[in-house]
């Protein structure tokens, strides 16, 4: 760690630093895109919960939401954006710094 960094407060991205949103971001980070059902099953979130967290991530520009029709039924697909990917990587770096400081 840089000597300049010591003592400076570490800013964790609050949009990602929430259990449900972190789960969504982690899933979307490792796959290219997924629909609501897949994410509900993988994160254990309810439909309403997932929907509200999805809106927050979309507002932050971290995910892209695509709506399409599949056999006349609406189908929502979520995809992590480049900015979301960078934010997640940055979040991981910041977290590493937190633990580096703890070790010191």
């Amino acid at each position: 760690m840089n000597s300049e960094d010591v003592g400076r407060p570490i800013q964790l991205d609050k949009t990602i630093h929430e259990q449900a949103r972190l789960q969504i971001m982690t899933q979307l980070y490792v796959i290219e895109e997924a629909d609501f059902l897949f994410l509900m099953r993988k994160t254990g979130l309810t439909w309403g919960n997932l929907s509200s967290h999805m809106s927050k991530l979309e507002e932050a520009g971290y995910i892209e939401v695509r709506k399409e029709f599949q056999e006349k039924k609406p189908h929502t697909i979520l995809k992590i954006t480049e900015s979301g990917r960078n934010a997640f990587q940055e979040y991981r770096k910041m977290l590493d710094k937190v633990f580096e400081r703890l070790q010191e």
Binding site: Q19, L22, T26, V30, I31, E32, D35, F38, Q70, R92
Partner: protein, 232 residues
Amino acid sequence: MYCKVLCTVITMTNETSLETVEQESVQELTQDGFIELNFGVLLLLFFNIIYKPSAPSIFEAWFNLALVIFCMFYIIFAFSFYRGFKKKYVYPRIGYAKLREVHSSKAILGTIVIFILSVTEEITLIYIISIDVVTMDWVYRWIPVFFGLTACTFSFLLKYRTGQNRYYLLGVLMTITGLTAALADFISTDMALTIYFDGWSIAILVLGVIKFLLFIRKYPITNTPEAADCEQ
């Protein structure tokens, strides 16, 4: 509460854990048996197109022509067919997810090494045929072993993507049975190849069908609220 969030954060952002999360997603998406069904069909086509034309008869010529046409259709339409099938039977059960392409240095290196080995194997084979050290019959006899070794690549890739060691078993078993077929002098080359390729194709196809049936039984169609809203 803080500890709980922290534990989740630690596990979910760790490099190894991210790999595990990805592997778990791949496991979920591969439990429908489609990989096995695809591999079984390809194996059946490979054997019947590559080997069978070596012994033509009027019936076999038509049979081979039909196979070549089927193979062309398969290559062109298989992707859309499987996608349509998955849309109807798989996605309403476990949801849809598109996997990322493999681009880890470990996987790329593994693929390059196996590719180089395969090319070396083929060049050596062509060379020893050209200097008349071996006959075509010998080559046919040993095809199962080469095929088994190639199947190891497939096993390696599946193990890497899913994290499940049981996929190594496929490559190992295909190589061992290939070696057995090559060394079994008491049966003809034709018979050895038929037993090996048709046997494996059928076994893998049956495995695929069983996996698909179990998958359908395990995961009933889930009615998502957005679909339910639409129906009302």
